[in-house]
């Protein structure tokens, strides 16, 4: 009914309502913006469950799965990834067409860089329109299923409208929504066909179902409370897996050989129902963007919320210290062995360099760093390409210097053995380009606002120069000393290592 296929990427929201004055009432509001169906869901706690489910269905698509396995940072840095996703969805579904156009262009540039072949040499391409259609389809279907499972199925009109919004999203991204059937009625056969014919038990899907939540690192804000986080995760991790599996379409569960757990269906429906009850909370209590941003806050940062949470964390730390001091003495543990330098190198490798968390340093890891910086600084062309090129140059330098066994990637061992020789000219080039793109006004100083854009925090008092700016030389020097693993706890640390 709402064919957005003819719309250009820039002409979405406002055009629709202008063009169809005779539509029923629920269609008159703009497809994007605060009155959309999507926005209502966005603030619904059930959406957390349905997003996990959608991501699993996404990852079960062989092309998406391969792209995720190769490139995604969600295993090693899930909270940063979540924050970026939430910000992106907000921009895409917001009321401002110009913001949407820029975000779509950014996503397209980002996706254009994600290409390759999976373990069976089948090519994948994040720009493939059919694949992108499927990703949007999983979001729509999971939202609908979320309502069904929690006992409040969507009205026919609402479902049509939500579908139109998701098609408009795809159109904003792709230029047209031709790879999603035009109506909801035609959508279901399409969906069932993909589920039955195309989805596989991919590695990425298994990682999300069984590894991600069991190993989920604490969000930056809660870094101070590792024991509490681990305890909560040990209970919640497997539960999320079971709930998600139980909510997947039956034909797919059968084909992928996913286990049927007794009671899982009841548990899953209970979870959706319980999360659905949270809609009776007062308005504004649950704001996903607020929560995602809050979790990604750096406790050492200068955001007032970080400070109050920081105070809370300090209290929890003190309480933890007291509990440990009061606890009966455990048997004396053996002193840990191992050489310090090597351990530090390995820790740096895991926390900073290996962005995809697969145990190897490869181009996708450095690309993920470039992606993160480009996202934070909201870079446009040609700065984004300059940044990627600089990182690519650094990758070639690293590969030449460190990949001693010639498998095309750098292992922890290879890195730890060669650590001192890391700061070559290409890394200096990365630092310089990073400085240039951060210095948006081109005065060859990074001032407080530019600094905040990159690091999401203010200057530390001892670091800025006398005039409250950061000179190119100091910026490059600090970056090199961080990247060579010589100095931690700089501003770069939260930039690249925060979960």
């Amino acid at each position: 009914m709402t064919d957005t296929g003819s719309d250009g990427p820039a002409g979405t929201g406002a055009d629709h309502s202008d063009r169809r004055p005779g539509q029923p009432a629920h269609d008159e509001a703009p497809l994007f913006g605060p009155d959309s169906r999507f926005h209502a869901f966005f603030h619904d706690p059930r959406w957390a469950l349905s997003i996990v489910r959608a991501t699993v269905l996404e990852a079960a698509h062989p092309q998406v799965g391969a792209a995720l396995t190769d490139n995604s940072t969600f295993v090693a840095h899930p909270w940063r990834r979540l924050r970026n996703t939430v910000v992106s969805l907000q921009r895409m579904f917001g009321a401002d067409d110009e913001v949407r156009r820029r975000e779509a262009a950014r996503l397209n540039r980002l996706h254009a860089r994600l290409k390759g072949a999976d373990a069976h040499d089948r090519p994948y391409d994040a720009m493939d329109p059919a694949v992108r259609g499927w990703v949007v389809a999983t979001l729509f279907e999971s939202s609908v299923t979320m309502c069904r499972l929690s006992g409040q199925p969507l009205e026919r009109g609402d479902m049509d409208r939500l579908y139109a919004e998701f098609r408009a999203y795809l159109a904003a991204l792709e230029g047209d929504a031709g790879h999603l059937p035009p109506t909801v009625q035609e959508f279901w056969p399409y969906y069932d066909r993909v589920v039955e014919e195309e989805l596989e038990n991919t590695e990425a899907m298994r990682v999300i179902l069984y590894r991600l939540f069991d190993h989920l690192p604490a969000p930056p804000l809660l870094h101070g409370l590792p024991a509490m986080w681990a305890a909560g995760r040990a209970v919640a991790g497997p539960l999320i897996g079971v709930i998600t599996v139980a909510s997947l379409p039956e034909p797919f569960r059968r084909r992928a050989g996913l286990p049927e757990m007794p009671g899982a269906q009841t548990l899953m429906q209970g979870a959706y129902l319980a999360a659905g009850l949270a809609r009776f909370l007062p308005d504004g209590w649950i704001q996903p963007e607020g929560i995602a941003k809050l979790l990604a806050l750096d406790p050492g940062g200068d955001d007032p919320r970080a400070r109050s949470i920081g105070a809370l964390t300090d209290r929890m730390k003190r309480a933890g210290a007291l509990v440990r001091l009061l606890a009966p003495l455990p048997p004396e543990p053996d002193p840990a062995g191992g050489t310090d330098v090597r351990r530090e190198a390995e820790a740096f490798f895991t926390a900073v360099l290996d962005q995809t968390g697969d145990g190897y340093l490869d181009w996708p890891d450095l690309a993920a760093m470039a992606r993160e910086v480009a996202g934070r600084l909201d870079l446009d062309e040609p700065d984004e390409t300059r940044l990627y090129d600089a990182f690519a140059g650094w990758w070639r330098e690293l590969q030449a210097a460190l990949d001693t066994d010639g498998d095309g990637r750098v292992s922890v061992r290879e890195y730890a053995e060669a650590v001192p020789s890391l700061a070559g000219p290409a890394l200096i080039r990365v630092a310089e380009v990073l400085f240039d793109v951060t210095d948006t006004d081109g005065d060859r100083r990074v001032d407080a606002d530019e600094y905040r854009a990159l690091f999401r925090r203010g200057f530390r008092r001892d670091m800025a120069g006398a005039d409250g700016t950061y000179s190119r030389a100091a910026f490059v020097r600090d970056f090199l000393s961080f990247m060579a693993g010589r100095e931690r706890s700089t501003a770069y640390d939260p930039l690249f290592s925060d979960a």
Binding site: D314, R318, L325, L326, P335, A336
Partner: protein, 279 residues
């Protein structure tokens, strides 16, 4: 037959006949009966104790040296309480020097276990009294990780307290601290001309620690033994003959009184060269 112990100690040297336990008078609360301002002024701001004589105390009683260390626990708690009540703002205790590692392994092991037990036992009380606890030194890898963890926990627990600051020098050496400060200074790239006493002191561990006003070394030994060398530059020293396990609040207050009689001139130098008064 007094043995010359070269190091300060939680565990002293051998027995001496002339050591006295009760040769000191008990002094009343120094603040009592005086105008408040005057009393405050005359209480030393930073008192440090070199806890000497545990070993001799034990040997005098034909007990193993370890029991001397055990007996020291009571004194430590007594002195902390006395200092806090008397209005001392900073109290430092020399518990274990970098040279004490030369002691027999079994004694070192015993000390580590003892200190851990004492720290854990008294942590809640120290916290409730508003005492901020710190451990100066604690860098040697031979320190058991569990003990280091307890030290860190106690520092975390009491870090925000605003009462007296208790610094326990553990695995501490005054020269080592100065060398560490020099290293840190060189690393920060300060030009030689820019280094003065104040900026140098800012690189010492816990740079907010003020200069020591009074050092009490028990058991009659009269040595510095590499204790907080930088901070004791203008300290008054008192050497009560009492062995540390017999040292009590009364002796502590007596030392404060002796300190009050002293005429401190600082050789014309201002006191508290490093460290600002805490709010």
């Amino acid at each position: 037959m007094r043995r010359r112990t070269v190091r300060p100690s939680p565990l002293g040297g051998s027995v001496t006949a002339e050591e006295v336990i009760d040769g000191s008078a008990v002094f009343p609360d120094p603040a009592r009966g005086r105008p408040r301002g005057e009393a405050r002024r005359r209480v030393p701001r930073h008192v440090a104790c070199v806890m000497d004589g545990n070993g001799r105390w034990a040997a005098r009683r034909s007990l193993p040296r370890t029991s001397g260390h055990r007996a020291a626990e009571t004194t430590v708690i007594d002195v902390i309480e006395a200092a806090r009540t008397a209005g001392v703002e900073w109290l430092s205790l020399y518990a274990f020097s970098t040279e004490n590692w030369q002691r027999p392994g079994s004694e070192v092991d015993f000390l580590m276990r003892l200190v851990r037990r004492v720290v854990r036992k008294h942590a809640p009380v120290l916290h409730l009294r508003g005492i901020r606890c710190r451990f100066l030194g604690v860098t040697d890898p031979r320190i058991p990780p569990a003990l280091a963890r307890d030290f860190a926990d106690l520092m975390t627990l009491t870090g925000e307290n605003r009462g007296m600051t208790l610094t326990v020098a553990f695995d501490h050496g005054g020269r080592g601290d100065i060398v560490a400060a020099a290293r840190s200074l060189i690393r920060s790239g300060v030009p030689a001309e820019a280094v003065d006493e104040r900026s140098f002191a800012a690189h010492l561990p816990f740079p907010d620690t003020p200069d020591v006003d009074l050092v009490i070394r028990t058991s009659g030994e009269q040595r510095i033994s590499n204790f907080m060398l930088w901070q004791v530059a203008y300290a008054e020293w008192i050497f009560p003959p009492v062995l540390w396990p017999d040292f009590r609040a009364a002796h502590f207050l007596e030392c404060l009184d002796t300190y009050r009689q002293r005429d401190r001139r600082f050789g014309g130098v201002t006191p508290n060269a490093n460290g600002e008064r805490r709010p």
